[in-house]
């Protein structure tokens, strides 16, 4: 395990090399799970891309396919029952789905790393955190035990873990939730990857710690000019951190937009529903809005627009035709860069 690719050890400036091809591009990705009850279509044609230094937030309810997409990118889907019948995942223009197992494994951790939701269960309980952090260097860069431990302490300091030297031999259960999540972040950061996928990194944490962890993540991203895919269902978390947002519903992207545009003027009824269901101080005492109904069963996604049974604006066309992700424009036709909506009535939604 001593083969080191040229970009793995030194943080090379990455601004110049990604102007033409994005760091990661997902093209028309489909993921299915073959279950006893039939084929569950978890992801149905997702497209998105991330460049260096950019943060993409993928937003959606449970079961919308956001985590499955991330797992497909990392190559940690359980196959079977999962399968990828269609689509491409391009890392710097190379399709990872056609790579060999070893090639992909070398990308994992070194080029693309992942932060998991529940840091306690994501850390091995029988190994000390120092060992687990050092393992990154030992496996990928062939460092000695001692050098790896020194690196581990350095990493722990970088993610603001107090008394790193004293705690490097502690076990995961001896850390608090926020500290554990920092260790997960440190582990993902270890080899200074180009891209980090954070799958609901703050969901298991309480609110004050959430903010700290998000700030830390944002700082480190800026420092290393990494791409970041932030998967979350929390609209509050993404507002400060993300550059652009992709909203997922039933395995499709229903809306994409730069972060502030989305909050200001949603172009999809689902996004609007999500925004309306955030509790607001000025509406104290009133009933909180909720999107009616439940997310669709992935074994039988409704015909037409998957959101139609819950959509207040649904018309006949929504029950028959699947809307494609159309570019969203101003009323006078001027383009809004980066915006798209998969709704037959996006014009009415954004302008009406």
């Amino acid at each position: 395990m001593t083969i080191i690719e040229e970009t793995s050890s030194v943080p090379t400036p990455r601004s110049g090399d990604s102007d033409t091809t994005p760091l990661l591009e997902v093209r028309d990705l489909h993921v299915e799970f073959h279950t006893r009850d039939g084929v569950a279509k978890a992801v149905n044609g997702v497209n998105y891309s991330v460049s260096s230094g950019e943060t993409l937030a993928v937003l959606g309810e449970s079961g919308s396919g956001k985590s499955v997409t991330a797992q497909a990118i990392m190559g940690i889907l359980d196959m079977p029952p999962g399968s990828i019948p269609q689509g491409q995942i391009l890392y710097r223009g190379q399709d990872m789905l056609t790579m060999s197992y070893e090639e992909r494994r070398k990308i994992r951790g070194r080029k693309i790393a992942m932060i998991f939701q529940d840091a306690l269960s994501s850390l091995n309980p029988v190994l000390s955190v120092g060992y687990q952090l050092g393992e990154m260097y030992r496996v990928h860069e062939g460092l000695s035990r001692k050098a790896a431990k020194a690196k581990a302490i350095e990493l722990m300091e970088r993610v603001n873990i107090p008394a790193a030297k004293a705690r490097v031999n502690d076990y995961p259960h001896q850390f608090s939730g926020g500290m554990r999540q920092r260790i997960m972040i440190a582990m993902a950061l270890a080899l200074e990857p180009d891209l980090i996928i954070a799958d609901e990194p703050t969901t298991a944490l309480d609110v004050t710690v959430q903010a700290q962890v998000m700030d830390l993540l944002a700082d480190l991203q800026r420092e290393f000019n990494m791409g970041l895919i932030l998967i979350t269902h929390d609209l509050g978390v993404v507002a400060d951190v993300a550059d652009k947002i992709a909203v997922m519903y039933a395995g499709r992207i229903v809306e994409t937009a730069p972060v502030h545009e989305l909050y200001k003027r949603p172009a999809h009824p689902y996004t609007r529903g999500l925004l309306d269901s955030i509790p607001r101080l000025d509406q104290k005492g009133q009933e909180l809005y909720a999107i009616k109904g439940l997310p669709p069963n992935l074994l039988k996604i409704p015909a037409g627009c998957a959101f139609n049974p819950r959509c207040p604006k649904a018309q006949d066309i929504c029950r028959t035709d699947v809307p494609v992700l159309d570019p969203v424009t101003e009323q006078d036709g001027t383009e809004l860069p980066g915006r798209g909506s998969a709704c037959h009535f996006w014009k009415e939604t954004i302008h009406g």
Partner: protein, 326 residues
């Protein structure tokens, strides 16, 4: 297990820039450390792993101490029987057949006129060798096969599970009578081999189940996501977490393998003379139980104590490794 949850509150770390944060964090750290040490840990105490925790528990457990001492003694006389028995277990004098206790021969003589004490001491070697070797073999074969099946799943798992079922269906004593009756060697190895052959499915099932449970943990996925190879995931992340139940069952099984060796020897298919084994002596003595019960009681007693010691040890180890079972 030590108290798992230090206080949630990390203090008010509000990272604005890396330089500034470090200072904040370290000054905050002093307070945190103090809190941590407040909950029952001495300041110098090192972090404890599952194994060091288990060892702490074991050292305080009288069951472990008693069984451990018995086993140490057994292992000692198995390696060096001359230390406490000066005679030769194979030198017999028919004129003394079936005689009871005499000076220099505290346990009396066998039907062939051999010294029961010497034979009982020397018999430990066969029992301990068979028990330890069979257990090691079973544990290794079972863990490897069961672990691989559990880790990779799918087709290989189905095949292995069916093979396991087939081996489970073979009655041990009947299998022994059939398979070992064709063996003429008087060494312990055919017996050990037979026990491994019929014993591995038990461990394999446990290892498989344990590996499947551990494999589903997030930390295994995390290891995969961070670029660990299959062998690293198996050896570093799955195995250390999955091995505890295997150790427990194997320790308890060790006692039963010793008993099984005696059973097979009693039936005449295990160890054969001139090997010295408690099973052979019990078998020989059983014909004379009315005239000379001492010939039976000493080797049978030694066997019972040995089996009991290993089963007690297994219990103590299980309690230490899985405190929830208590």
């Amino acid at each position: 297990m030590p108290e798992p949850e230090p206080p949630k509150d990390e203090g008010a770390i509000a990272p604005t820039g890396t330089g500034g944060t470090m200072d904040l964090a370290t000054s905050d750290g002093a307070g945190l450390e103090g809190l941590d040490q407040g909950d029952g840990k001495g300041p110098d105490e090192k972090a404890r792993s599952l194994w060091s925790d288990a060892w702490r528990d074991l050292r305080r457990n009288p069951v472990f101490i008693i069984s451990g001492l018995i086993i140490l003694f057994l292992v000692f006389i198995a390696i060096w029987p001359q230390a406490i028995a000066s005679g030769n277990p194979l030198s017999c004098n028919l004129s003394k057949a079936q005689q009871g206790s005499q000076p220099g021969h505290p346990f009396g003589f066998t039907a062939q006129g051999c010294d029961v004490y010497t034979r009982t001491v020397y018999g430990a070697r066969a029992s301990v060798t068979v028990g330890v070797c069979a257990t090691l073999g079973v544990a290794i074969v079972g863990t490897v096969l069961g672990g691989l099946a559990g880790f990779f799943g799918g087709f290989s798992d189905s095949i292995l599970s069916r093979v396991t079922d087939i081996f489970f269906g073979i009655p041990v004593v009947l299998g022994g009578l059939v398979l070992l009756s064709v063996v003429t060697s008087s060494s312990v190895w055919p017996v050990v081999g037979f026990m491994v052959l019929l014993g591995w499915p038990q461990i394999s099932r446990i290892a498989r189940g344990s590996v499947i449970t551990i494999k589903q943990n997030d930390f295994v996925q995390a290891a995969r996501a961070l670029g660990a190879s299959n062998s690293r995931m198996m050896l570093r992340h799955v195995l250390p977490n999955a091995v505890a139940p295997v150790i427990v069952v194997a320790t308890i099984a060790l006692g039963t393998y010793i008993a099984l060796e005696a059973t097979l020897s009693y039936l005449g298919v295990g160890l054969k003379p001139p090997s010295v084994s408690w099973g052979i002596d019990i078998s020989d003595a059983s014909k004379f139980i009315r005239n000379a019960p001492h010939m039976l009681l000493w080797p049978a007693g030694a066997l019972a104590i040995t089996v009991l010691a290993f089963i007690m040890l297994g219990d103590a180890v299980r309690d230490a490794l899985d405190p929830k079972l208590r």
